[in-house]
Symmetry: C2
Subunit: 176 residues, 2 copies
């Protein structure tokens, strides 16, 4: 027993919280993300559609936060989705700087179908962890996120890049 894949005795990675979170997220999402791709959408696009089912007409910046996509990137994705007819962009009459994003009929159709699929998939997932593993996982994660985000604004992270001087952060374009 235990010839392959180490017994991960005192290994760092397999027991590191951030790794476990990332790996769990990946593992749990893999199947559905593949499903999304069969519909001709990339994951970020699916996220946009999903967010719009909840917050149709929200502005780019908001959408970026909801969908966890950086603003500049989201702008480009939205422009593509617009050309493709999944969403429409209209500048806010109240504030000319803002661009509000709406689902088109086609976009809504696709969004609603995928959300339904997502819910079904989620049911299966939670079901597989019926015992207790998945029992309070959602609440746990919610609490986790809340606290972390609250802390993020409260304690905006220090700097301290160098310690011994060996690992000098290279300001983007140094060397090569």
């Amino acid at each position: 027993m235990s010839t392959k894949d180490d017994d991960q005795q005192a290994l760092f990675v397999p027991n590191y919280l951030l790794y476990l979170l990332a790996a769990a997220s990946e593992a749990a999402s893999a199947r559905f993300h593949a499903h999304v791709r069969t519909h001709g959408l990339r994951v970020p696009e699916w996220r946009v559609l999903a967010c719009l089912t909840d917050w149709d007409g929200s502005m780019v910046t908001e959408l970026a936060r909801y969908a966890m996509i950086e603003q500049s990137r989201l702008t480009k994705i939205i422009i593509q989705m617009d050309k493709r007819g999944l969403v429409s962009r209209r500048s806010d009459p109240e504030d000319g700087r803002r661009v509000r994003v709406f689902l088109t009929d086609e976009g809504r159709t696709m969004a609603e179908r995928l959300v339904a699929d997502a819910k079904a998939n989620e049911r299966d997932l939670l079901n597989a962890f019926r015992d207790n593993t998945g029992k309070e996982i959602k609440q746990t994660l919610r609490t986790m996120i809340e606290r972390l985000e609250a802390e993020a604004v409260a304690r905006p992270a220090p700097e301290e890049p160098s310690r011994t001087g060996a690992g000098k952060a290279r300001s983007k374009k140094t060397e090569t």
Copy 2:
């Protein structure tokens, strides 16, 4: 009360398991990832270093699995890290196809420092959830990953792209 940020009553996204997992992962990692960048490393590079502290000398394919990075991408990242002197690549004498990756002294120094920082950061995180939120979170995630990966090999995901025929998956390069 509840003017901003909705009461997320029956909203989909804020209660969707896959969203919660991704968001929790992001929120939990944000600070440390920023720390990593101040050391002139990108997240994937940090992952490689971390994995090598556990599995120094592993082959590219293994490393890719451990670090959750696609092979082709990892190859490119490793080549860069090699040039930069963080790792060294040597073809396996036992099997010429394989390329084994090792930490250089410099790489090990940086890796060990960051792993120490990561552990300290993890302590803080788990500490902040001392109550019970973070109590069994790790075990929960571990179980989750195990089951999901087991299931992934057992039930290799079906196909079923179209349902009504509306959302035809576009095979990469169809339409502009």
